[in-house]
Subunit: 145 residues, 6 copies
């Protein structure tokens, strides 16, 4: 299999990653990675989004569903806020997001449900500010992203 693959180059993957990020409305994220290490940022865009999120075999919507689920499950202090935004950007409804919280919460514990509610509520507030700023021609940089 390895041999039959066309010889692709690494640099292409950065472009492919950026395309995926744009489809998800995430193209301005991970800049704190870029600030401390260009190579880390390059790997996040190129490998994670170009080579993993960009794979065939599972729709972008389904990749977002399972990523949201994994992140709700792990209940880490940061890193999931942006996935609520990209989920909505990809057409996953608020109702579906709530159902994912309930479903996953039963497999990883009620506090993961309530932590998800807290983070989702926070990011909905931030989204309002970002949208208002955009309308006014300003940029609002959210500390949650």
């Amino acid at each position: 299999m390895k041999k039959s693959k066309p010889r692709r180059e690494y640099n292409n993957r950065f472009e492919r990653g950026m395309k995926v990020l744009k489809r998800m409305g995430r193209e301005k994220l991970m800049l704190n990675q870029k600030a401390i290490s260009e190579e880390m940022y390059d790997m996040s865009v190129g490998h994670l989004f170009g080579d993993v999120w960009g794979r065939p075999g599972l729709s972008l919507r389904d990749r977002q569903l399972v990523t949201l689920a994994a992140n709700i499950a792990m209940a880490r202090p940061s890193g999931n806020h942006s996935h609520y935004l990209s989920a909505m950007h990809l057409g996953i409804t608020k109702r579906e997001i709530i159902e994912i919280m309930i479903q996953v919460g039963h497999y990883t514990g009620w506090p993961t449900l309530s932590n998800a509610v807290r983070q989702f509520t926070e990011i909905l507030e931030e989204k309002k500010k970002m949208d208002a700023a955009k309308k006014a021609g300003r940029v609002y940089h959210s500390k949650l992203l």
Copy 2:
């Protein structure tokens, strides 16, 4: 909202849970719970499957996707083998399951990917034995379920 809901009874939820379990091919599971506590089993069937899995707002396939993702993420020693079976029962393909492993593995660590491969490989072996036994009119009780 609470008031407008028709007065449903608890016992119905056990039946509703069993219906969901049958659609998923899982109706013979959780019997070790039944063996130590009827009430625990009743809650697992009635609440988890009747009241949670049976909710509208998210398709059964999507509930299975996010549950599989949450379980791969947590990498617990037991409890996920059966979800590979019900995922396939619901029409999620082997290819999709592999992509879920790759996708989730990047959010929860490579060993969760390799642990998922190990558990999936084990349950595919068990499934062969269960299917062969079924053909021969016997029952094969898998220790993994």
Copy 3:
């Protein structure tokens, strides 16, 4: 067993849940759940507090002890602050809470101990503000709850 159970109705469980919450001094919590989904709130009050916390077979104090322990163990970013308050409301002493931190910390790691100390210290500060506000006839809404 299932058959012999009196036919209880779902709505009762919400009332039972509220009663448990009042005994624990928690009746004003989970309102951010209510804000995004009445049904989620209904399930949290009715199932988690009415049907789980309200079960016989383990005292309310012991349920609080093991819940506090599980939450200290998981060290999630939110969701445990309120349990220090309800623990004290139920008569668990500050000394006992400190011993639980030390005991659990040895089973889940020193940073879970120090994270618990941090959260406990934070909520003791908040409690002072809430008590002062109450005395003054005002309401202080803590962001930690």
Copy 4:
């Protein structure tokens, strides 16, 4: 405070740890630690059981309750089987253990409940073998401990 404490010696703590282990019926455990490192075993007996479990301020029963809860929560592949045995040794009933599983399971996810059921069922089987061996004057060494 440090100064007012009587000058206790390290070696005493090993003896104190062994006393606690005997009260819990655990004095023959952790021998695989001893096999690879005497000092590790010394620290487990002396510090964990002598200096932590042996502390005043929380009853031995309560320490066992919260330890069981923390371990059910973490759902690690090994290390909790023995705590079901010491819990029963200390008088915590089977019914209480089941209620702890249900209570903790709601805070850490249904698979932690079902994993606990699996481990508890396994150790009850092992206990039968150990008890039968004891009656017959033999020793049965369980691989789960």
Copy 5:
């Protein structure tokens, strides 16, 4: 082995712990533990730093490496910021810290990498403030420590 050990006293371990803490530039930490329980603080300094970090058999640098790795892996909301500071104090370079994030992140998930970047960036900002305050003869107490 136990018998051949010289009879050391507990109080010595507090001093030994403080020495280790000074070598790591951490001697002013864990004061919130001291505020709620002198004994907890005593155990943290004496056992964790005196008896664990102070052990021979693994260099202080290597102990810091594996501790940083374990903490990045667990992605707890607090408790790791200080370890970036002590790592740098012990001569671990910024480049090495970034490589640890990339390496560990692949074993515990991309969000643990990005959470580490966030925490490291935060603490570098705090360090600037602390250094500036020191120069000016003031003390800056960071909320992250």
Copy 6:
């Protein structure tokens, strides 16, 4: 930075990954991944070992140290046995491994220490069988790898 990098090709990374795996004595692992998905195996060898483990900026020994630490911390049911072997292959001593268990165990809980002892003891037994088989010209395939 991205532009200045020489245009490397994906296929090279598989070879680079294999070289790293050989230095670590791991070249025969992850074959169960290959059995279910060539592409997954390709990514594990090429990305994880070729592009991550093969990076400059942190020695191979240090990458092994922090990986071992992260895996002991997470206490997953599989995936860490092989890292004890590669650690020893890279010259990390048994004593150092024991110290890593003690150090990490204090940051992630005593059961992660005892789980590590269990897994290390198991793999030392397997290693004896593998070495004996090798001497006899046979191959012993360990189920733990």
